[in-house]
């Protein structure tokens, strides 16, 4: 029985295939979120806690939808065993798109509730500093793109699941300090966050450059996979490289721009408040 997308070595077909493991993951995360909003939401809110806004719920639902699309048929199946370009798209969705949407869609009171224990709080505080998340993100990125990992783990469902899960977790870890959701964890200032995101742009250029400029296919799994619509292995690899560089860069630089304008607005507000205090 197939429960998670992995390389099957059979000719690609557009006939739908079920992956119950993906549904279980989506149902567990979505169900857990809905349950928490219904059962755990406090009657009174203190500080900056607010009831879950419709916008937050929409962001979380969108993030979960992105996660589902990336993991399930056809994106998940094509990514697992046929096209490196689709795997790169999946990587971007797993790491750079779904996690920030889901983090922004989680109300602060729920985050605080989730981090109520001493150990979770300490982990969250450690991950608010930039070094550990940068290391986790870059190590997972590099390891998940090593040929022995792609070729070795991609053919088993468990191996494929482990790599996908590592990518998703690294996405949450990476975005946690960049979004700075909880003030009590002393999040980085906006300029520091911009610097953090800027630092994270460089390592993905390594696999992206290999994909774009290699003469021959890097991964046996994609080179020897049955062809999908006659797309050649090298052309597929080059598209993967461009996607990693351009789409990944677009997301990160786009986020940096938003942070820059937020920083600018924050500075303006501070100035106005200072002037009002003086007068």
């Amino acid at each position: 029985m197939t429960w998670w997308c992995s390389a099957q070595g059979v000719a690609w077909s557009w006939a739908w295939q079920a992956y119950p493991g993906v549904w279980l993951m989506v149902a567990a995360v979505g169900g857990g979120y809905a349950w928490a909003l219904r059962r755990l939401q406090p009657r009174r809110f203190a500080g900056d806690d607010r009831p879950a806004a419709k916008g937050e719920m929409a962001l979380f639902a969108l993030g979960l939808l992105v996660l589902w699309i990336a993991a399930d048929w056809p994106v998940g199946a094509l990514a697992a065993g046929y096209l490196l370009s689709v795997r790169t798209l999946q990587f971007l969705l797993f790491v750079l798109v779904a996690p920030p949407l889901m983090l922004l869609g989680t109300p602060r009171w729920l985050l605080r509730r989730l981090l109520r224990g001493r150990v979770p709080f300490r982990i969250a505080r450690a991950l608010t500093r930039p070094l550990a998340p940068l290391v986790v993100y870059n190590v997972v990125l590099i390891v998940a793109h090593l040929p022995p990992v792609v070729d070795g783990l991609g053919t088993s469902q468990l191996g494929s699941f482990a790599v996908d899960l590592a990518m998703i977790v690294s996405g949450f870890v990476f975005w946690w300090p960049a979004l700075g959701r909880l003030p009590e964890l002393n999040p980085m200032s906006y300029p520091a966050r911009i610097g953090y995101l800027l630092l994270s742009v460089f390592v993905p250029t390594v696999p992206a450059s290999f994909f774009t400029f290699a003469r021959y296919p890097i991964y046996g799994l994609y080179e020897l996979a049955p062809r999908v619509h006659d797309i050649g292995a090298v052309a597929d690899q080059q598209v993967a490289g461009l996607l990693m560089k351009l789409a990944g860069g677009f997301i990160l630089f786009g986020t940096m721009s938003v942070m820059f304008f937020r920083w600018h607005r924050q500075e303006e507000q501070t100035e106005i408040m200072e002037k009002e205090t003086v007068t």
Partner: protein
């Protein structure tokens, strides 16, 4: 009686996974393919090419490094991947190397692979690939002279009439001296071809 689809899949898997006796020996010449300990002479046969004309295999490939593969154009996996990889490497090789190589694809499904279809399919991979067709039994005899197992036709699907063909997944490399010296199983990568093809042209073989 035709074998079942399951049997054919099993046959394909066996052919991919198990080398002929000759291929099981070690490879101490630095090739990525499997060196045949006792090289085989290039067989003499004439089949029909993609223009519908007779093609004398031994005569027309004399003096070239010749790569021979038996497969069929309706093959869902092994044949298109093998030919696509060979085509990609042929385009990357120096012209001084690639023009000394002939890639010959012999169909194991002559009933469906007409010369026109064969030509059209092969041009997807490389314009210089040679496609040959002929009588099914004759093609099987040729395969056996090369030490490869004969092809087997699968049971046609009751709805579509399409069928699979179980066939060897090896590419046989004949060096310019006319001897089959190296076998390449499915799984040979482009980087392996790029390593071996110039070497097959350059190496001197001591058959004594």
């Amino acid at each position: 009686m035709r074998p079942s689809r399951e049997l054919l899949i099993l046959l394909c898997a066996t052919l991919v996974g198990c080398a002929p006796d000759a291929a099981r020996s070690g490879n101490d010449r630095g090739y990525r393919g499997v060196v045949i300990p006792e090289p085989r002479a290039k067989p003499a046969f004439t089949l029909t090419d993609t223009r519908g004309e007779p093609f004398d295999f031994r005569e027309r490939t004399r003096g070239y490094l010749t790569l021979v593969f038996f497969g069929y154009t309706y093959c869902p996996d092994i044949c298109p991947v093998t030919m696509a990889n060979l085509g990609a490497v042929m385009r990357e090789l120096r012209p001084s190397v690639s023009r000394r190589i002939r890639v010959v694809f012999v169909t194991t499904d002559p009933a469906r692979d007409t010369p026109e279809r064969l030509g059209r399919w092969l041009r997807n991979f490389h314009p210089n690939f040679i496609g040959l067709t002929g009588d099914f039994d004759r093609i099987n005899e040729i395969q056996q002279t090369m030490g490869l197992p004969p092809a087997q036709l699968g049971v046609p699907d009751s709805a579509t009439g399409s069928y699979l063909v179980g066939h060897s997944a090896y590419v046989v490399a004949f060096t310019p001296d006319g001897l089959g010296r190296v076998l390449y199983p499915f799984g040979t990568r482009q980087v392996d071809w790029a390593h071996d093809l110039p070497k097959l042209l350059e190496d001197e073989w001591d058959d004594s």
